[in-house]
């Protein structure tokens, strides 16, 4: 499976995250709410982020800038989703 780059916009709290999600939606930047990936969870497990696919980072950053939207930081991760991995919780 090819490595896929994803960008996670980390937020201070879920209200900030949902606001950011709506702003990106309005601007047509495809995004989804996603848990912060395990590799960058650090000391904050159980947190949401706004995930955007490869190639959309510039558009997202422009949209955030236009709206003066708040966020914590953007982290890029190469984690392929593997629906056949069969590792459940």
């Amino acid at each position: 499976m090819p490595e896929v780059m994803r960008h996670y916009i980390l937020v201070d709290n879920n209200e900030q995250g949902m606001k950011l999600h709506r702003i990106l939606d309005e601007d047509g930047v495809e995004n989804r709410i996603a848990p912060v990936p395990q590799s960058i969870q650090g000391e904050y497990p159980c947190g949401m982020s706004v995930m955007i696919g490869d190639g959309l980072l510039d558009k997202a950053v422009a949209s955030i800038g236009r709206h003066g939207a708040e966020y914590y930081k953007i982290v890029s991760v190469e984690v392929p989703f593997m629906p056949n991995r069969d590792r459940y919780c």
């Binding site: 159980c46 949401m48 069969d86 459940y88």
Partner: protein, 424 residues
């Protein structure tokens, strides 16, 4: 990012162990949900909730407790939420759906207990689930033997009320369940310090009916040939509905249904035309049990309906809202709840009637009947379910599984062969 550690510490949780559960969740959510293409946008609410499943709602519950409200934890769809809500209480589902909690359950229960029970006991005794810590009172029921005995153990650790569920569905059983509901109402009044009036119960009946109608609207969309939502996403919505505030739940489900109806009118489907449609029946799939749905939907088929307590049994049949006295309302509640067709009852032919009806309504190509390991009730019913469906020419696959990943490959082989047979 919000740090929930302080909240978990105050709940007396085993933080170190709990962190390991938090670590595996993002990958599983990514693989099962985020890997899908073209998901409905309105799933964003449930994506948020599941991303912070041990944070957002627990925090809300604690804030309500600070105002003096009581939280009741339940394990069965026979326990009437309406009664708790009428006393300004809050209900949260407590069934454990993760292998993570099973070892702590096995420390006190026989290994030959169903994983749902082991996980539920393990989540409490292992102190690794905030919901199990938050609930002020647990409400158990006399459905299956494993649960009855497990409640005795849990009852040593937390206030517990047991409802005596009848085993048959004769007129006298419906009256008996009504009396049990009335007694439960007294218990809830005593525990919350709030009186349940006919007016308040009437309002809570309306609230829960609205939630049922909203869930039913989403399921109505799943009947369409043009399938606007995957089984995985519908399952997530359903699982979280057991934890959420009922008014918000109805609002979010209606929002999702609006989008799904629009998708259907625009011909937007999440699967290619001709994808085989599966009805899944059997034991409940408590969060985060997503294994079967994920395997079925990555084997070329789509789950279009769940005839189970985390499915149609949760929302079908409304409570009669026209009653104006408590006595009549308790009877109306009993009549509605006693329509739920669980294998704990004998006979339970209503379940087979439901499955046959749903096969037609949801345009089903094949049925998968699956029980959790060591659930002899649902395991035994497989015989009559499969015979009835085969008589009607409906292909059936009977399976058994637990919460481990170890049988995934075997399940893939069997489900893959079943889908191939449907496609032949």
């Amino acid at each position: 990012m919000t740090d929930y550690h302080e909240m978990w510490k105050e709940l007396g949780m085993d933080i170190e162990s709990h962190d390991t559960l938090c670590e595996v969740l993002p990958n599983a959510i990514g693989d099962v949900f985020l890997s899908q293409e073209n998901r409905p946008k309105a799933m964003d609410f449930w994506d948020m909730v599941i991303s912070e499943v041990h944070g957002i709602r627990p925090h809300e519950l604690i804030e309500e407790q600070k105002k003096g409200r009581k939280v009741f934890g339940t394990f069965c769809v026979y326990v009437p939420d309406e009664v708790v809500i009428a006393a300004d209480g809050i209900v949260t589902g407590l069934c454990g759906g993760s292998q993570f909690w099973v070892p702590a359950g096995e420390a006190v229960l026989p290994k030959s207990t169903c994983p749902l029970i082991k996980a539920s006991v393990g989540a409490r005794l292992g102190r690794t689930c905030p919901f199990f810590r938050i609930a002020d009172m647990y409400v158990g029921e006399t459905t299956c033997d494993g649960k009855k005995k497990a409640y005795e153990i849990l009852g040593e650790d937390v206030p517990m009320h047991i409802m005596d569920v009848p085993q048959m569905k004769r007129e006298k059983d419906i009256i008996r369940w009504k009396e049990e509901i009335a007694e439960f109402a007294e218990k809830v009044e005593e525990f919350t310090g709030n009186e349940i009036t006919a007016e308040k119960l009437g309002e809570s009946i309306r609230i829960i009916n609205e939630k049922r109608k909203a869930l039913a609207r989403v399921f109505e969309c799943r009947k369409s040939e043009c399938l606007p939502i995957s089984g995985r996403d519908a399952l997530l919505m359903m699982q979280i509905s057991f934890f959420d505030d009922p008014v918000r739940c109805a609002e979010m489900c209606n929002r999702l249904a609006d989008e799904l109806e629009e998708r259907i009118s625009n011909g937007v489907s999440v699967v290619p035309a001709g994808t085989k449609r599966i009805l899944l029946t059997g034991t409940p799939l408590a969060v985060p049990n997503w294994k079967l749905h994920n395997i079925i939907e990555t084997s070329g088929a789509a789950v279009v309906c769940e005839e189970m307590c985390t499915g149609t049994r949760y929302f079908e049949n409304l409570v009669d809202e026209s009653k104006t006295t408590l006595d009549e309302q308790f009877m109306a509640l009993s009549e509605r709840y006693m329509k739920t067709n669980c294998a704990c009852f004998t006979p339970n032919t209503g379940r087979i009637d439901d499955i046959q009806r749903m096969v037609k309504e949801y345009k089903v190509d094949g049925v998968i009947d699956c029980n959790l390991k060591f659930c002899c009730l649902y395991d035994t019913e497989k015989y009559s379910v499969s015979r009835a469906l085969k008589n009607e020419g409906v292909p059936v696959l009977s399976l058994e599984t637990d919460y481990t990943d170890t049988d995934a490959e075997q399940l893939r082989t069997r489900i893959g062969a079943f889908v191939e047979m449907l496609n032949a």
